[in-house]
């Protein structure tokens, strides 16, 4: 079963995510970027990382996580930023374009969308 990493602190969305992918993908959840970095998970068999992005509450560590995945962990899978908002300031947009594959709005979460994302990956 393909593995998906979710970094999300809101239990509601964690449950939503879990419900969407139930039986189709394995979800590995971390409640914060620090938690994810500290655990130092082997990402070889991870297909995608979904990173929560909360506007106005972003710490430096969270901001740097996508970069960390690409540079430090040499992660080749998909990095998806998901947020309640879809508009970003210029600086954030540049950063996201550099290190993330896609930006999702939380309300658009669906199994079909996840499957489509992972089908495109490496196919």
């Amino acid at each position: 079963m393909k593995k998906i990493v979710l970094i999300e602190d809101d239990s509601f969305y964690v449950q939503e995510f879990r419900d969407e992918i139930k039986g189709r993908f394995e979800l590995i959840h971390f409640s914060s970027p620090s938690d994810f970095v500290d655990k130092d998970l082997d990402l070889n068999d991870v297909e995608a990382v979904f990173l929560d992005f909360d506007f106005g509450h972003v710490s430096e560590k969270e901001n740097m996580l996508a970069e960390y995945l690409r540079k430090e962990k040499a992660f080749k899978g998909k990095v998806v930023l998901w947020s309640l908002l879809e508009e970003f300031d210029r600086e954030t947009k540049l950063y996201l374009d550099a290190f993330c594959d896609d930006i999702w709005v939380k309300r658009d979460l669906s199994l079909e969308k996840i499957k489509k994302l992972l089908t495109n990956h490496g196919d």
Partner: protein, 472 residues
């Protein structure tokens, strides 16, 4: 353009002439000063040495004078003539010291008598006094005082003066080049560009320079105006950025419960009634928490928006308010230290409670295992009676010295959860509205102007100190 270039050239020449004139005048003044100095020194040497000697020899000179039968001391020419006629003395043609000694030596060999002599030199005067005893017991004094252009000191001074002139000239040349290349040339270039753009005929270099300076002045004024505009724009930009950030934050936080409610409704259509109840129980608490947060945030914004004091003042018991606030934390973890005769003050109960809640909430969100303590004590500050409240926690994290001054600033936050940067700013506003003061102390550093000793050396601690007037 040709006219401008010729004008440029004439101004350059004028400036060059001016610099050379200044250099020459300075050199002449320096030379004259050196000559005067030398003369004074030579005169002083002559006066001090020759005439002091003469004064010392006054008695012997008088006796010589008497023996010779002259009313005055003999002059040089007469003495030489006398010496020659009597002893075949060779006239001293040169005043060079060596030759003089040689002459005297020859004289001594011829007459078996060595004269005592004194020869003094100064840069401008040469003085010689010869006193000698002959076989016959005759004594002669020969004095000579003459201009001495070849005195050793003269050459020394002359060489020093030459060296100074050479060095000064080199310095002038260097500074002239630097002055022209650094100071004049930019003006010339500026002038060329200005004049070429306007094609103005100038009457004289002075007028041209005045015009250039006027233009520079005008440019400086414009530059200052532009800088002011830029600063205003930067400030406006910073304010706009803060507002944009705040709006995004508000939209984000307000949208969250709505987004969840939408999802809840979508699920409700898909789930069975039995599943729905369980699902609703699971998520309702979460959504309720979000709506409470939105409500708190809106209240924060309302509070910040109020510029005037809007207090509902009445006597309140601080201890009971703090007790109710700290119910959120396990009571065993909170220690109360009360050193006050009267813990009742006049204040707005709702707002003060909100202030204490914000501080506690701030402490709870910080990482680490903490123990909480509350101190209430009486104190006198600026001849007024105050009640001091300290809300502290120990064993958790600390606030660094750099962060302390920012902690009460609006929108300053380092936390993700509930970190809107409003809570502590509101605390400060509430306390200020009460006429009180608030500051934070952590590991010996404080946001207040006063220094504070480190209270707990072994562990991290954060304390909020609040001064409340008894009757605001």
């Amino acid at each position: 353009m040709g006219l401008n270039l010729s004008t440029h050239s004439s101004i350059r020449k004028g400036v060059r002439r001016l610099v050379i004139k200044v250099a020459l005048i300075t050199l002449i003044i320096l030379s004259v000063m050196m000559a005067i100095l030398t003369f004074i020194q030579g005169k002083a040497a002559l006066n001090n040495e020759v005439y002091n000697f003469l004064l010392q020899e006054k008695e012997s000179l008088t006796s010589i004078q008497r023996e010779l039968g002259y009313e005055k001391l003999v002059g040089y020419n007469y003495a030489i003539k006398y010496l020659k006629s009597t002893y075949g003395f060779i006239e001293i043609k040169s005043f060079k010291q060596k030759k003089h000694i040689k002459c005297l030596h020859e004289f001594a060999l011829n007459h078996n008598q060595y004269p005592t002599s004194i020869c003094l030199e100064s840069p401008f005067y040469y003085s010689m006094i010869i006193k000698m005893n002959t076989f016959k017991g005759e004594r002669f004094v020969v004095m000579r005082k003459a201009f001495n252009p070849f005195g050793g000191f003269f050459w020394t001074y002359f060489l020093i003066l030459c060296a100074i002139i050479i060095v000064m000239t080199a310095i002038f040349i260097f500074f002239y080049r630097e002055f022209v290349s650094i100071t004049i040339d930019p003006f010339m270039k500026l002038y060329e560009s200005v004049s070429s753009s306007k094609q103005t005929n100038f009457l004289s270099p002075h007028l041209e320079l005045n015009d250039i300076f006027q233009k520079i002045k005008s440019m400086q004024k414009k530059q200052l105006e532009n800088q002011e505009k830029l600063l205003t724009l930067e400030q406006e930009n910073a304010v706009n950025k803060a507002i944009a950030s705040m709006v995004r934050m508000i939209v984000h936080d307000v949208r969250r419960p709505f987004d969840k409610i939408n999802r809840l409704l979508e699920r409700a259509n898909k789930k069975q009634p039995s599943e729905l109840k369980k699902y609703f129980e699971t998520v309702s608490h979460n959504i309720h928490h979000d709506t409470k947060q939105v409500d708190a945030m809106l209240q924060d914004l309302m509070d910040i928006g109020h510029k005037k004091r809007n207090l509902n003042l009445k006597p309140i018991c601080l201890k009971s308010i703090l007790n109710s606030v700290y119910q959120e934390v396990n009571e065993n973890q909170v220690k109360f230290f009360i050193e006050s005769n009267k813990t009742t003050i006049t204040g707005d109960e709702f707002k003060l409670k909100r202030c204490f809640e914000n501080i506690l909430s701030n402490a709870i969100q910080a990482p680490g295992e903490k123990r909480y303590y509350v101190e209430i004590q009486d104190c006198i500050h600026e001849n007024k009676a105050w009640t001091k409240v300290v809300l502290g926690n120990i064993g958790g994290s600390y606030i660094s010295e750099e962060r302390l001054p920012k902690i009460f600033k609006l929108f300053y936050t380092e936390k993700k959860e509930n970190g809107r940067g409003l809570g502590l700013a509101i605390c400060k506003k509430i306390i200020n509205d009460h006429g009180g003061k608030i500051w934070v102390v952590s590991n010996g550093y404080t946001s207040f102007e006063e220094k504070t000793p480190t209270r707990f050396k072994e562990k991290n601690y954060v304390e909020f100190h609040i001064l409340l007037k008894r009757d605001p």
